[in-house]
Symmetry: C2
Subunit: 217 residues, 2 copies
């Protein structure tokens, strides 16, 4: 926070990035003032405009940069071939590791889409669809080979992504479980969900549909 006046450049840029991630993740983009951001970095508010043209551009740069990183990292981690189970395992391990390592950025990418202006939003949504498709392809393939049994692969895609991405909302570096433990636990749950073997053997209990309907107003 305290800071000797003078030129910095790259150092300031990185400091702004980090402070911005932290403030936006904590309070949200709209609630973060540029004065607050500048104070966190230790510069004056007007100086921020050496690093972006306006507040919206700052947010977009953060989100876009992160999405590019995410895609590149996923492509490096994924198996091009192999059984659907192996690929799903790899996908899950990657996703958990990434969400644990960069929880703040991931969280912002989910929670601040609403703060993007239309053109910027469209660009980010397109990148996100690509990511969803990579998981969807694995699930489709697994259903085709019989490794997986899913009633609806689109719902399964959204369900698995929500389940894994939820990690960034509660994960803390000093938490109970190591990254490796979380990878193992979540891989187990995702595989069980995808195999879904015993699902149809269940005796569904009688439903008091009336009571349920009454409850949901």
């Amino acid at each position: 926070m305290a800071r000797i006046a003078g030129s910095s450049g790259p150092r300031t840029e990185e400091a702004i990035r980090r402070a911005g991630l932290s403030l936006i993740a904590t309070h949200g983009y709209a609630a973060m003032s540029l004065r607050q951001l500048a104070a966190e970095v230790g510069i004056q508010q007007g100086s921020l405009y050496n690093y972006f043209r306006n507040k919206q551009e700052f947010l977009f740069d953060l989100i876009r940069g992160h999405m590019l990183d995410l895609h590149a990292a996923l492509d490096a981690a994924l198996l091009p071939e192999g059984s659907a189970e192996a690929r799903l395992t790899r996908f899950t391990e990657f996703h958990v590791a990434y969400h644990v390592a960069r929880a703040q950025e991931v969280f912002i990418c989910y929670s601040e889409l609403r703060s993007l202006e239309p053109d910027n939003l469209a660009a980010v949504v397109a990148m996100r669809r690509d990511y969803e498709r990579k998981l969807g392809d694995i699930l489709d393939h697994g259903c085709a080979t019989g490794e997986f049994r899913l009633a609806d692969t689109r719902m399964a895609t959204l369900a698995i992504l929500a389940m894994l991405s939820g990690i960034c909302t509660w994960y803390r570096p000093d938490g109970r479980l190591s990254r490796e433990a979380m990878q193992e636990i979540f891989t187990g749950m995702v595989l069980a969900l995808a195999r879904g073997e015993a699902a149809e053997a269940v005796a569904v209990p009688p439903r008091r549909r009336g009571a349920l309907r009454a409850g949901i107003g």
Copy 2:
């Protein structure tokens, strides 16, 4: 939007509630101005203060009221006894139905916790923990009876809630699937996840750990 001037009362109150839910869900609490809210309702900005003391109280009332509804509805829908599978099925069906029926309110309850002042936040977090515990108890019970096989019931609780609550981020009333179809699909996935039967029989593929680590920066 257009509106005849004059006294209303309860009608205005409900209009403010609905407009607030919509605006906050779309743009976020911090980004919603009271002028915007008043315009949506068709009254002047100062008149809002007949319905709340300040903006924060308005948000808290929305969230708190919804949490109370959620708890009451869950208690009405849940089975007090029965197999863990039956109770988990009931829980899932309820949760899906509620999130489909009141997606906006649910979404706000997740996304605007950050906008609550400390005391208000504490109250909401306490209510949320109760909700999590109800699911956690079902999972614990199922593991004890052997119906479920979960490596970590706390992680499973968070994973299932994230998976189900994710619905409110993408659900649209005019979507492809009916509420009933979604209930069935998600119940199948949740039960498969909880049973996790074949999970340990998997041959885990060899992992290029180096590549994975490199990917997560």
